[in-house]
Assembly symmetry: C2
Homo-oligomer: 414 residues x 2
């Protein structure tokens, strides 16, 4: 397997606010052609460190990809430094300058002289055109080692890599086709899931399996590498089928879908509708559902009933229920779902009420106490949980639990 | 200024799904004591590459911090490799083993023999205790260069660094106190803002100023380094005062607050209440407002009126308004805000209706067309925008515009 290193260039990537994310996208593309990323570096606009980094990377790895530092200003040092690190000079390309002048003319502007720096290319390198910006990229094949120099903005970097680099590297790596698949499972912890499924996936030695916990669900990452995509797909499909058998309803996504996409798909297929009554999640469930383009065909209405008055007024929860059981109770959750469903006239309604913290907990109902309510034509149900985490996580996990509860009900009742 | 490098260790950090985030936290802590992070590396559980990385970093920089790779398994190579890179051996510490055995006993378990590996420490290094996990950290002062070896989980790494490393490095860096402040500005582009304020901030040579665009607002990052925190604070306060004069209402946060915190603070101070009617944002505004702990004192109710029926039924928008002007119109936005305020009986209501895409646009009303509605006791108003971006960004920017409009109205009317 070929090895790669990715080097992100730019002092802004060394601040507490930002970091490199281009490498995540690149890692995925490289994995898909059977290239393994072994090291990533983030370096500022610092010539000495950048040169050393590129030179070391070229010694250690088959493919070195840099992103950023190709702009026209003095800070942008990647062009010259990468040439130096590869032991080459730079060559001025008149046709790049002409092209840049033309670009600027089309915007009705004169090209600033400073942009001439962008017409220099590493000696012997292939020029990678950039329809979305002024910086061309470069690909240098140095005795079988590859140095790929890309611009930083994702909308310039990504098409350049896909259109001008990927096929070349794919050939170099032996044209393997790696297929990756993300499965998502609810209601399991990481170790319990691994215990259950490791006897199955361990039989598939050509598939790399890893299990990751992600806020409110466990993900199973599968990756198979074969001579064709169809072959990789087939072996993964086989394993997914066996996992689905033991996981049943817990397996909610077999191709990277989010919970809101899965629930949306079920409703769309069944031509059914949904409304949502939220208290502690404050609109998060509605936001997630409507993140999915086309959700207006099944999501009708949401109410964020944060105050008790709103629960009474808009959802028809009775004052007695609130007084007797409290706003955070199974009774209130069911009444919220029932009232929401009646108001919106939808097939289903779900509700959430709980204590997201940091304040508001009590001995009886500590922070993290959450009730999910559910209503359909047959009546109401509820789910009670005590969720770990801070305010953000409790709210997120509540929204996930409510959507998952709905999903399981839809699948059980239809 | 002292230079630092941060090395994150772990093969999971080289996948397309995850990356190192510990370094962001560490960068901030190091900046605050006047240490500049010059390079970051992410390396897998790969002994050769890790050793070379640490050795090179120690040559180039004053302080090298590693995170991760201190667990008890064979994959966890940082302990031995960092010793080798520093040209030292490791020493077995019986007291660490005893402590580990005691930890396991407290959980009612026997210590697995494998955990003995965690009792090895770099020769000559100070042991950094870890109350939150089994891996101790290490701090090696090698002739004035510092190698700091920390565990990967943030809840182990962060207290260890704060309690046992920070003060030592602060002394080394000359006890400077760097104060950082984030200001947030709405209604300006990056360059227009810089044009306006650069004549002001350039007079403050001891303050580092940088301007960053962040989804829907521009941030001004200020950082001052003086012998005391009070001194740094004073000079920053002075500059912030001058910036506030020219920016007026556009400057919405002077200490890193989010828009929802600022709006919440205004409502809380004035003991006023708010309700929100959302269409294209789908609950995002409610979610953001209720992200703030204590928001139940001013946020009463939200309605996600995604369907026209919901706009009519729950918000009292008239069928005529919808038929004549459409769901995405200033008239509908104002009617939504008005209906929401009447329903909830709040001091203010805001509403959003728009086209978030990718579908649903027309020549008249392209994707990104958004109307914000506003209602208070004096009547209704609206704001019309055409926002750039994808579905995610249009929704986010709509929510920000609505909250900002409310903020400006509150400040103008009271």
């Amino acid at each position: 397997m070929l090895s790669a290193e990715i080097i992100a260039v730019g002092s802004e990537l060394l601040t507490p606010e930002r970091t490199d994310t281009n490498s995540l996208w690149l890692t995925e593309k490289l994995m898909n052609i059977g290239v393994e990323v072994k090291l990533k570096t983030i370096v500022g606009d610092d010539e000495a460190r950048l040169e050393e980094t590129i030179r070391d990377a070229l010694k250690r790895s088959d493919i070195v990809v840099t992103t950023g530092g190709l702009g026209p200003t003095e800070d942008d040092v990647t062009r010259n430094v990468s040439a130096r690190a590869a032991g080459r000079g730079v060559v001025y390309h008149d046709e790049i300058e002409a092209h840049l002048r033309e670009r600027f003319r089309q915007w009705g502007r004169e090209m600033p002289e400073i942009n001439k720096r962008q017409a220099y290319v590493i000696e012997g390198a292939t020029i990678l055109p950039n329809p979305n910006g002024s910086a061309v990229g470069m690909l240098l094949n140095d005795d079988g080692k590859f140095l790929v120099v890309l611009p930083g903005p994702p909308r310039e970097m990504q098409p350049m890599f896909e259109n001008h680099v990927l096929d070349i590297l794919k050939t170099v790596s032996g044209n393997v086709s790696v297929v990756r698949r993300v499965l998502r499972v609810s209601g399991f912890g990481e170790s319990a899931l691994d215990e259950l499924i490791s006897p199955i996936y361990k039989k598939y030695e050509t598939i790399q399996t890893s299990i990751l916990f992600n806020r409110s669900e466990v993900e199973i990452h599968l990756s198979a590498s074969a001579k064709s995509e169809a072959e990789s797909d087939a072996i993964i499909d086989e394993l997914v089928g066996k996992l689905a058998e033991v996981l049943g309803l817990a397996l909610f996504a077999t191709n990277g879908e989010t919970m809101e996409e899965v629930v949306g798909g079920l409703l769309r297929d069944r031509k059914q509708t949904l409304s949502v009554a939220e208290s502690c999640t404050g609109g998060l469930i509605g936001m997630r559902l409507t993140d999915v383009a086309g959700s207006s065909s099944y999501f009708m209405e949401g109410v964020v009933a944060y105050s008790n008055d709103a629960k009474i007024r808009t959802l028809g929860v009775s004052e007695e229920t609130l007084a007797q059981y409290g706003a955070v109770s199974s009774q209130t959750a069911e009444a919220m779902a029932d009232g929401m469903r009646r108001r919106a006239g939808t097939d289903y309604a779900i509700s959430v009420t709980g204590i997201a913290g940091p304040d508001g907990g009590s001995e009886d109902k500590p922070v993290g106490t959450v009730y999910v309510g559910y209503a359909d034509k047959n009546g109401t149900k509820f789910l009670h949980m005590t969720l770990p985490g801070d305010r953000y996580l409790i709210r997120w996990r509540s929204s996930q639990a409510a959507l998952d509860y709905l999903r399981r009900r839809i699948l059980k009742t239809s």
